[in-house]
Amino acid sequence: MSAFLEITEVGKRFNGTTVLDDVNLTVDKGETVVLLGPSGAGKSTLLRCVNMLERIDGGRIVLDGEELGWRESNGVMRELSGRAEARQRQEIGMVFQSFNLFAHMTVLQNVVEAPVGVLRRPKREVIEEAHELLKQVGLDHKADAYPAQLSGGQQQRVAIARSLAMHPKLMLFDEPTSALDPELVSEVLDAIKHLAVTGITMLVVTHEIGFAREVSDRFVFMENGRVVETGLSRRLTVEGAENARTRDFLSKVL
């Protein structure tokens, strides 16, 4: 019985510095898992490795039975071509800390671009669905605005809609609220909260412990490129955590 997303003994080094050290992690289908930990712990790097924005130096990542980034051939692992990699990424949505909406496109164009251009779906149908997705994040009235005309919270909600338009198997959130003004954080968290109940599988890097406890099923606490503790999210309190380092971290951020 294998999990939906299986991260096995993944290692990653940047110029000799070990950023990920033997990371093991599984996420079941429909589960929401949060990655917690101090900055520099390797949470974002791990997320980027899942999406192949970084190449792993060791270990393997398997999503829904499919090896990501590599394929086995005659007893060796060969790196996938850019095209095959892009195909795998179609099934993984990613929301970035800095939103990264395409600056030269309107909100609607941002959402429509990949389903039409990459998946070759009929434009009319995609536009209809895009309006639907924008409605879900409360921004259909901004469909013709450009990203620069939106607040950070609005941009991030559009970025979520843009990812969802690809119907991904897995959603990755890389500190989705860290670049936002405090008063705009909740609108983005609410949008993610709504997603969690739709049964989509999510892996979220965040510093919002309250949100993590409320929305996620499990937490993974990382430090220095290693997984220190994993557990059920309702245990995300100073008393509930088992590991001393996790408790220390929680006592500082809660």
């Binding site: 999406n51 924005l53 850019g82 095209r83 892009a86 195909r87 990424r89 179609q90 099934e91 993984i92 949505g93 990613m94 970035f96 800095s98 990264n100 909406l101 395409f102 600056a103 030269h104 309107t106 609607l108 164009q109 429509v112 671009e113 990949a114 251009g117 990459v118 998946l119 434009k123 009319r124 536009i127 469909a143 013709d144 450009y146 970025a159 843009r162 990812s163 690809m166």
Partner: protein, 291 residues
């Protein structure tokens, strides 16, 4: 005294500082300009009748056509080749990086005029152009270089190749100006590298590249007057031909200058229009949806 005492700053009339010197300098400069223009307009040596007589002369217009042709082709080739060079320079291959760098280094180092005359005399270096297997293989066909390169072709080749070197640097800088996050977002949506460049990076880089490329086009337009050295009958050369027979040097130089100014004005206006269009880019998707 009493008046002073009851002055209420909130309701009193406010008089801004008068910038007297700005006004004085402006008037002086305008008068100087007027004096200069008047001196030009009524200068007998300028001989405006001759200017107007040759302004629409057939040879002048034909020369103008060649000038515009050389410039237009060179800029288009420069953008295409420059785009390739910039992509090579940014590629993850040391060899491609180096080749691109060497190209840019070479064509920026050689003076335009030297390059022009050299290209025109290419037959001295390579008497024949042939197609075959290199390093001593068989030759399929061969023609004399002299037949292949006429003055106009030499001019177009020279300006295109040199301009490509400059344009590649403009394009490289403008590609680098697009934030990395834009590319990562495109990859995360499953776009291939090529698609990401075409749909996300180039459209944004183009906005940055447009003003310097327009600048280069204007510069190139006037640099093409160098082709007189290899006897391409462009605007400048045609004018020279005329004044060397009727000795009306200044009026004919004015004819050429006016035409250069007109074409540069058209280019500048075009740049302005395109830049404005890009700034308020209309929603293409909405138009597509209603169509």
């Amino acid at each position: 005294m009493t008046e002073h005492a009851i002055l209420d700053p909130a309701t009193a009339r406010h008089i801004p500082t008068r910038h007297v010197w700005r006004g004085v300098i402006a008037v002086v400069l305008l008068l100087a300009l007027l004096w200069f223009v008047q001196g030009l307009a009524f200068n007998q040596a300028l001989d405006w009748t001759t200017v107007w007589k040759y302004f629409l002369d057939y040879d002048v217009l034909a020369g103008l056509g060649r000038t515009v042709l050389i410039t237009a082709i060179s800029i288009v080739v420069a953008v295409v080749v420059g785009g390739l060079l910039a992509t090579m320079r940014l590629a993850e291959s040391r060899v491609l990086n180096a080749l691109s760098w060497v190209y840019v280094w070479f064509f920026r180092s050689v003076p335009l005029l030297v390059l022009l005359v050299l290209t025109f005399n290419l037959s001295l270096l390579w008497p024949h152009v042939s197609l075959g297997i290199p390093f001593g293989g068989p030759t399929f066909f061969s023609i004399p270089t002299q037949k292949l390169i006429d003055p106009l072709a030499a001019a177009i080749v020279t300006f295109s190749l040199q301009q490509a070197a400059y344009t590649s640097e403009v394009l490289r800088a403008s590609i680098l100006s697009v934030p990395l996050g834009q590319r990562e977002a495109a990859y995360a949506l499953g776009m291939t590298r090529a698609r990401t460049m075409m749909r996300v990076v180039f459209p944004q880089a183009f906005r940055v590249a447009l003003p310097p490329i327009a600048n280069d086009a204007i510069n190139l337009l006037k640099s093409t007057s160098l082709v007189a050295f290899i006897a391409v009958p462009d605007l400048m050369y045609s004018v020279q031909q005329i004044y060397s027979s009727n000795f009306r040097v200044v009026p004919l130089l004015i004819v050429a200058t006016l035409w250069y100014m007109i074409v540069v004005s058209v280019l500048s206006a075009g740049q302005y229009v395109v830049e404005r269009k890009l700034r308020n880019a209309p929603s293409r998707t909405r138009q597509g949806a209603s169509a």
